[in-house]
């Protein structure tokens, strides 16, 4: 079972690296789309999320096409990190 603390921490990391000023973890629904209608992130943000996973969890995304599934929402991203994190 994934801890709520981890979800909040991940949201805080995303807010920081993507400069989502004025946003708090509570503003980001765990299952809301990160791209498109959700947070409205763009392709550069996707690259920042890839860097975030490598820098903070040691995860190197081998296949960029995986990103579409991994970055669907906070939930899918957290699930992927929990399963693949190196530290």
């Amino acid at each position: 079972m994934m801890s709520n603390d981890f979800i909040v921490k991940l949201k805080e990391q995303i807010i920081e690296v993507l400069n989502l000023e004025g946003m708090t973890p509570d503003d980001i629904a765990i299952d809301a789309p990160l791209f498109g209608d959700g947070l409205g992130l763009d392709s550069i943000d996707a690259l920042e999320l890839i860097v975030l996973m490598e820098k903070n969890y040691g995860i190197k995304l081998q296949d960029p096409a995986q990103g579409k599934e991994i970055f669907k929402s906070i939930q899918t991203m957290a699930d992927y990190i929990e399963k693949n994190r190196k530290f």
Binding site: N19, I44, E48, V51, E54
Partner: protein, 179 residues
């Protein structure tokens, strides 16, 4: 126009954004130079539905050095270069940000020189007015480096009879008045 005592450049730019009551989340992803140009143009331009009659003519002396240094810093941190910082490592990116915001499709140019040489910019504007269908030009000097930032931006119009004539003397006087 805006004063914020004892503020860092970052705080100042953010303060102006909030003072203008803007709602444009992408602003917070911009580097300082783009924020400065974005805010200066916000004061002078309306958001349009697509404008091919306005051009942008800007210059500065520090180019994108402030962001270049920041990007170098992200490379140095265990080699995690930031893509979001990298995209701002050119000075003319600010022009793209202004064009996106105001849907401007006219020509644009960004010059880098030692100091604010209004003659170069004026020549470009006059040439553009003569050679193309431009009717307006947003012209200015934008500089940012560490805790220094400076913006002088003016809207030049082909039609404005009775307004100040576009020439080096008038522009330099405006710059001196501002300083």
């Amino acid at each position: 126009m805006f004063q914020h005592q004892d503020a860092t450049v970052k705080q100042f730019l953010s303060g102006v954004y909030h003072t203008l009551n803007l709602d444009y989340m992408k602003f917070f992803k911009m580097d300082a130079l783009s924020k400065l140009g974005f805010l200066a143009s916000e004061v002078l331009l309306d958001v349009t539905n697509g404008n091919t009659e306005t051009g942008l003519f800007f210059a500065n002396s520090y180019s994108s050095l402030d962001t270049d240094a920041h990007y170098q810093q992200t490379i140095g941190e265990n080699y995690f270069p930031s893509p979001a910082v990298f995209v701002y490592t050119l000075p003319n990116i600010v022009l793209g940000e202004i064009c996106i915001r105001h849907r401007i499709y006219g020509e644009n140019v960004f010059l880098v020189g030692c100091d604010c040489q209004s003659s170069h910019l004026i020549q470009y504007v006059e040439q553009a007015f003569d050679d193309s269908g431009l009717k307006n030009a947003l012209v200015g000097w934008l500089d940012c480096y560490e805790e220094y930032c400076n913006a002088f931006v003016m809207l030049v119009s082909r039609k404005d009879k009775g307004s100040l004539e576009l020439n080096e003397s008038n522009v330099n006087q405006l710059i001196i008045k501002k300083e």
